[in-house]
Symmetry: C2
Subunit: 336 residues, 2 copies
Amino acid sequence: MRVLDGETLSPPPIWLMRQAGRYLPEYKETRAKAGSFLELCYSPDHAVEVTLQPIRRYNFDAAILFSDILVIPDAMRRNVRFTEGHGPEMDPIDEAGILRLDGMGVVDYLEPVFETVRRLRAELPEETTLLGFCGAPWTVATYMIAGHGTPDQAPARLFAYKHPKAFERLLMLLADVSADYLVRQIDAGADAVQIFDSWAGVLGEKEFEAFAVRPVARMISSVKARRPQARIIAFAKGAGYLLKTYRQKTGADAIGLDWSVPLGFAAELQKEGPVQGNLDPMRLVAGGKALEEGIDDILAHLGSGPLIFNLGHGITPQADPENVHLLVERVRRSGN
Amino acid sequence: MRVLDGETLSPPPIWLMRQAGRYLPEYKETRAKAGSFLELCYSPDHAVEVTLQPIRRYNFDAAILFSDILVIPDAMRRNVRFTEGHGPEMDPIDEAGILRLDGMGVVDYLEPVFETVRRLRAELPEETTLLGFCGAPWTVATYMIAGHGTPDQAPARLFAYKHPKAFERLLMLLADVSADYLVRQIDAGADAVQIFDSWAGVLGEKEFEAFAVRPVARMISSVKARRPQARIIAFAKGAGYLLKTYRQKTGADAIGLDWSVPLGFAAELQKEGPVQGNLDPMRLVAGGKALEEGIDDILAHLGSGPLIFNLGHGITPQADPENVHLLVERVRRSGN
């Protein structure tokens, strides 16, 4: 929280995207008990348990609510399915479907998530930040249009070109529902929230402005107008050069950096405010020198400014839990 | 060719990546006759025919040899297969396999490709540039390691971290074989060549330098030392901000820009030399205003410098051939 307010801490705080996940045997155990993946997300008992597991093991500085960005379309009754071995799927939506869509009852449907947040805030040590999150409108919309993930989300890009008004309606509806969702997470006890725009990198410049910047700016101003204490991290994966003005235009307190963001450029971005990232998750899998060099490089370039140490994308199932220990220790040993 | 030498032409010349492809009914007809996809690549009769088809229809300023970047691993006997509905597949290679690999006979195996180039140069109008091409070592290596495409080529990133020496050997071997391959294409009649680094965007900064910049620089200096007249376009898809120094470091005459490259940044890059790109292929599918605005934007930002008009990635099967006509006409009407 202090870094989100612009302070430089040494060592920097650390958490990992998808830190509650399949690389942990205890996660797999709980996952097996929970039924479907969405049942895991909607069961406060199980969701609290898996959120806490990596905190117990590694004492990360932040816990992130266990959930998924696609609970929003699920709450919109788009029939979201997570099938083993497939990516997520849902009923694809068309122009008429978007015109019929409304935000009524969507956030209330997600009450189990708020219950999870409440219990987490009660169970977590006071010094551990609790992060809520949601998907950015563009990223959520790409799945809603295609009905599944695709290599470069061409179906949503095409839909946006062909049906600009319907697409704008979808983005604005998602922005408003998501802002309400974040406010409710904050009210339930989330100290800060992260907005994941995992597919920002497939957009041209104008579309980045219209589909990534504008809806997220709308969300952030809506959340901050109602909850001025809210701290918000925005993560636009693959946005690269366009990150230059992303913080200023969206009003995010901190920006997340994927592993492809050059550290010199990251240091420029850090002059304007806190950054989070950006170790290649494959360095964590590789371990050894590749891991050590990756950590040291980030600390050398970004350690003397406001930094939240993190990966540049979610941790992968094949990561060795022991390497996560080594990572946390090395970052913590770096402090003055 | 004049733009590759730094001239500004109005209207700019135009060709489209993957212009010989499934959006054309005549391509599908030839494809059906050819047997497997690789048989199409290795049959000079069929490969010449499909290369010429889009020239006949649209009179593009350049024809690009019909082939595939994976003919190199195929020539290395990695058992490359193109199966309908799947992406390309091949036998994945490991550390020991890389140590056993050598470049002997690889380029000679591709003699049918050179025959295609010779026939094309004889059949094409003199004013139509004939482009040869190959994959960049990093991109070809990602398929060789994983045995197939993956969302962010994590297997190759991981392999490179774990086995840096073997990976370096693979890249250098691919660079040398590919340089020889390009020289032979030039000797057979290619006026210029393009190097496709389709997976450059998944690399961190240091890896971009080591895996994308260095091998391509090695290729280009090797080709230019032997064929000083060679003109080379390098296309590092997704490289974003790192394109800043890519031309200078690789020695490419022109750099290709994917559709995510902001046009203001593209104009900066153009100050250092010719650029090629970068219309979103989905604008071509959408047609109408989305297509017109996309074309006009590129011309407004890049039309007064050395520009080769192109898409920001390959044309997709669902593009309407009529929209391609509209694109070519609009670009040509833009001229003084």
